[in-house]
């Protein structure tokens, strides 16, 4: 079996990107190796660590578990589309202020996951921590449950919770 290629157009951070990729290429590798958007990280390549988290049509996914050719016509937001060093997004600013990272490798995934998670909260999507039938409230336990798909081996977990509460306007 050889290399089968397909033309795929994905809108990445607002820019339409015409890709001619191997059908085996994951969305993560398409971003990192083809588009040189290396902010999305490869920590496990198996959807277990969350370092590759991006937003696809506003929903957070593990980009390593998805093939690039499955995303023809989709709008993908990576960390590079969230903010820049000179123009940080409030979530990025909160991570900086609260020291919600150390080595920084899981950080883009944590930030993209935070953005997706806050949208899920807004939409009232329940988690295991949400009492049955209730609308979820952004408590520490809700944040911890919803952010548990993003491993931080440096273990900046308390700082990440603080950053998320800060940006969401929840009293610490």
């Amino acid at each position: 079996m050889g290399d089968v290629r397909l033309k795929t157009t994905i809108t990445v951070n607002g820019e339409p990107c015409a890709l001619d990729v191997d059908t085996r290429t994951t969305l993560l590798d398409a971003l990192r190796e083809h588009l040189k958007l290396t902010g999305s990280k490869k920590g496990c390549d198996h959807g277990q660590c969350g370092a590759c988290t991006v937003l696809v049509n506003g929903v957070r996914i593990n980009s390593c578990l998805s093939l690039a050719v499955m995303h023809d016509g989709d709008a993908v937001t990576t960390i590079e589309g969230v903010g820049t060093p000179d123009n940080l997004h409030p979530v990025q600013k909160a991570f900086l202020t609260h020291d919600a990272y150390q080595c920084g490798y899981c950080t883009p995934g944590q930030i993209c996951s935070t953005l997706g998670m806050l949208k899920e909260m807004e939409a009232g999507v329940p988690s295991q921590e949400t009492p049955a039938g209730a609308r979820p409230v952004l408590s520490d336990d809700e944040i911890r449950e919803r952010m548990s798909g993003n491993i931080c081996r440096c273990s900046a977990y308390p700082q990440i919770v603080a950053a998320i509460k800060d940006v969401a306007g929840v009293a610490a």
Binding site: D3, D22, K41, C44, Q48, P85, Q102, Y105, I151, C154
Partner: protein, 754 residues
């Protein structure tokens, strides 16, 4: 002779006129990290499109490769190179040091047909794309002549012997002292193999510029990596330019290079184009080092008033057949508690498991899981509060060698922690506190970790804009090196933080030992301070010797540096205007730090106290860490924000060690059972409750010119024991075989009739 007394004079860090030392400033490289624009090793963009290398791991633990069939792999579309030991390029034989002063010898990959551990890289496939190389790697067909792997650690304890060159440490007469003690604890704890699980798997991007090998890799120590690669390739050391600017976690596991680096270099040279090679997450588990398993026997003999009369801690552990690493889990106990009769030592057995090596708080991380629980058991047996028991056994000098402590605030850490945590609300009898379905308990433990200083150099430059650039072959593995170097530079040179640049992670910069053993900030920072002081001298001489300067004719020693201005009393000018006029090309000076020759006259440690509250579900055996507090004393703190993060991070490692982490051995195949992050359970958000770390005021003037010490390992030391002791207090079950998983707790609770 160099002496710690040389560090007595005042210096800009001690003076801290701008208040930058200790200030909780944001990380220097933070804006790059939170925007995904800090390039890690695999992400550096080479000068031309790279080829991709994928490694194949051995499917046996020990034996020989008896057959190689690479035809199908080579025929895979897009595959450029397939190498095994039969056709890999020449590399210098293992251990070769063509340059006698190399800090590491040759470390060849695909060296011969011998397999030394499961998962050892035995083939490399390089392709035009990652997909092509991966497909090719799946088609490499190897057959093996397998030997029976010798990997059963619990079954080989009786073969373990003292590590080469080590003897047991004996003080007084332990057997007699123990036998004569009215209250005794004699129990054995065991800890499993653990994996570092740095979020960034080991990776290298390498290309050649003429003869020069440019290697970006993910490594904690720059010089040994540079030298080892040069030795392996058989080229002059200066022909390797090794860079490691951003590192996605290290924790000891990236203290050495692995086969990604040499294979990427060999392939880049053979193909004449850049090559990238990374370990997969699965390959990391076997292919890089792990924390070895231990069995630890602790024997404590006490008088009825709680004073220890006899103390012994013996550790059995393992390393690779050809290695010589020892997990020194008994060592920290030598400095922790007073007792006149003492015996500590280690026994090592060599096995066909992958390489054992240092992992965050090597020694203490495992050892405290035994000793600090033994102390809890002793406290209960004596009917003495665990904090008081430790206080009672506080030694006036190092109990092993009688040396004075440079600084010891263990008791203050314990008392402060007890008060802040509400320890007085703990009921000593286990199993009495309920919160809904949860049984609730509190536990505590002491923390200790040695502190030391290594030789290092650093350079400081000032340019015509007054910008200070710090250059050092140091690394930042998430520890905060960039940030504390910037703080030291800004404070020393009297400029705002925004006027400082830091360049590290480069073999062509002044050498520093790197990140590890909690020596990084003290070592790199002290060299930076020295460089800064030398640059101040150079600038002061420049200003006072320059007729155009308002400082002309003054004494160089009177020049002050603050707010970007150089001054003598009310005569001043900006640093930028001085340099622009008097040294438009800028100035560069070096500084260096060496350990004091009399440093070992003091016992030098960092200390802490951990307090933990857990809930235990009596039906499921589930444990939840509800809250945890650590109070630490670790010298002057350079950055309250990054230091706290390191400490809370270390505490969470303790939670993982206590509750979830471990990698069992499959004795049939000599492999580790957990091969990814779904199976190896590093803590996640939901595992962690409310967590806080407090740092006591301290300056240790025997440590280095800044009086600082390290915190990277300290937070981990003792943290897991506090969790284990809290579990006992909650439900009355002691599990001495880590991690404390629900099945083990349930068995204990059932045995107690719960």
């Amino acid at each position: 002779m160099t002496s710690v007394h040389d560090w007595t004079p005042n210096n800009p860090v001690k003076e801290n006129r701008s208040g930058l030392i200790g200030k909780p400033v944001d990380r220097y490289e933070g804006p790059l990290k939170v925007t995904g624009t800090a390039p890690y090793a695999y992400e550096v963009q080479p000068p031309s499109p790279p080829a991709y290398g994928v490694m194949v791991g051995a499917a046996i633990a020990t034996g020989r490769i008896s057959g190689v069939d690479i035809a199908e792999a080579q025929a895979t579309p897009g595959v450029l190179v397939v190498w095994t030991h039969l056709n890999a390029p020449f590399q210098a034989p293992k251990g070769t040091k063509a340059h006698p002063r190399s800090s590491a010898g040759s470390r060849p990959a695909l060296e011969n047909d011998r397999v030394l551990f499961f998962g050892q890289p035995v083939a490399l496939v390089v392709g035009e794309t990652l997909e092509a190389a991966t497909a090719g790697a799946h088609r490499v067909k190897l057959t093996y002549a397998e030997d029976a792997p010798d990997v059963d650690f619990p079954g080989s304890l009786d073969r373990a012997i003292s590590p080469v060159g080590e003897e047991d440490m004996e003080v007084g007469d332990f057997p007699r002292g123990f036998a004569a003690s009215p209250v005794q604890i004699d129990a054995t704890w065991s800890t499993p193999i653990q994996n570092h699980c740095q979020m960034e798997p080991c990776a290298s991007t390498v290309w050649f510029e003429g003869e020069k090998c440019v290697a970006h890799t993910s490594i904690q120590m720059v010089k040994p990596a540079q030298h080892g690669l040069a030795e392996t390739l058989g080229i002059p050391r200066d022909d390797v330019h090794l860079l490691t600017r951003y590192i996605g976690g290290g924790f000891g596991g990236k203290g050495q290079t692995y086969d990604d680096l040499i294979l990427a270099a060999l392939a880049a040279r053979a193909l004449g184009r850049p090559v990238k090679v990374a370990y997969t997450r699965q390959q990391m588990m076997h292919g890089t080092i792990h924390r070895p398993a231990t069995v630890m026997q602790v024997q404590l003999g006490a008088e009825k008033d709680g004073r220890l009369n006899a103390f012994s801690m013996m550790t059995w552990t393992h390393c690779h057949r050809e290695g010589n690493f020892t997990e020194h889990a008994s060592n920290f106990g030598r400095a922790l508690y007073a007792a006149p009769n003492r015996l500590t030592g280690h026994r090592l057995v060599k096995l066909d498991l992958p390489g054992a090596g240092p992992m965050r708080a090597p020694g203490e991380a495992s050892g405290t899981l035994a000793l600090e629980c033994a102390m809890d058991e002793l406290a209960e047996k004596l009917g003495i509060d665990p904090v008081e028991l430790r206080t009672l056994n506080e030694p006036p000098t190092d109990p092993e060698n009688g040396r004075p402590f440079s600084m010891r605030q263990l008791v203050r850490c314990l008392r402060e922690g007890a008060q802040q945590f509400g320890w007085d609300r703990r009921l000593p009898t286990p199993g009495l506190v309920r919160d809904g379905r949860w049984l609730v308990g509190m536990g505590m433990a002491a923390a200790i970790r040695g502190n030391f200083l290594l030789p290092a150099k650093c350079s400081f430059s000032v340019d015509a804009d007054g910008v200070i650039t710090v250059r050092q072959g140091m690394t930042d593995i998430g520890t905060g090196t960039y940030t504390v170097l910037a703080q030291i530079a800004a404070e020393t040179m009297g400029v705002p933080l925004g006027q400082v640049k830091v360049e590290i992670g480069d073999s062509e910069l002044p050498p520093a030992p790197g990140s590890g053993g909690q020596f990084g900030a003290a070592t790199a920072g002290s060299a930076a301070l020295a460089a800064g002081q030398n640059l101040r001298t150079a600038i002061a001489e420049l200003a006072t010797g320059d007729e155009a300067s308002p400082l002309f004719g003054g004494r160089p020693a009177d020049v002050t540096f603050q707010d970007g201005v150089v001054a003598i009393a009310n005569r001043s000018e900006t640093l930028a205007s001085l340099i622009r006029r008097a040294a438009p090309e800028g100035l560069t000076v070096e500084g260096e730090i060496k350990p004091a020759q009399d440093a070992r006259e003091w016992s030098q440690q960092t200390y802490g106290g951990h307090y933990c509250e857990v809930g235990v579900d009596p039906v499921t055996g589930e444990v939840r860490v509800r809250r945890m507090l650590g109070v630490f004393a670790a010298g002057r703190i350079l950055n309250a924000k990054t230091a706290r993060s390191q400490l809370t991070g270390g505490m969470i490692w303790g939670i993982g060690s206590a509750l979830t982490e471990g990698n069992p051995v499959d004795v049939r195949y000599g492999s580790l059972l957990n091969q990814d992050l779904a199976q190896y359970l590093a803590p996640v958000q939901a595992d962690i409750g409310d967590l806080e770390a407090i740092m006591l005021d301290e300056v240790d003037d025997k440590a280095n010119p800044m009086g600082i010490k390290g915190v990277g390992e300290l937070g981990n030391s003792g943290a897991g024991a506090a969790v284990a002791n809290a579990i006992y207090n909650a439900c009355g079950v002691r599990v001495r075989d880590y991690p404390i998983t629900p099945d083990k707790l349930l068995a204990g609770m059932i045995a107690r009739g719960m």
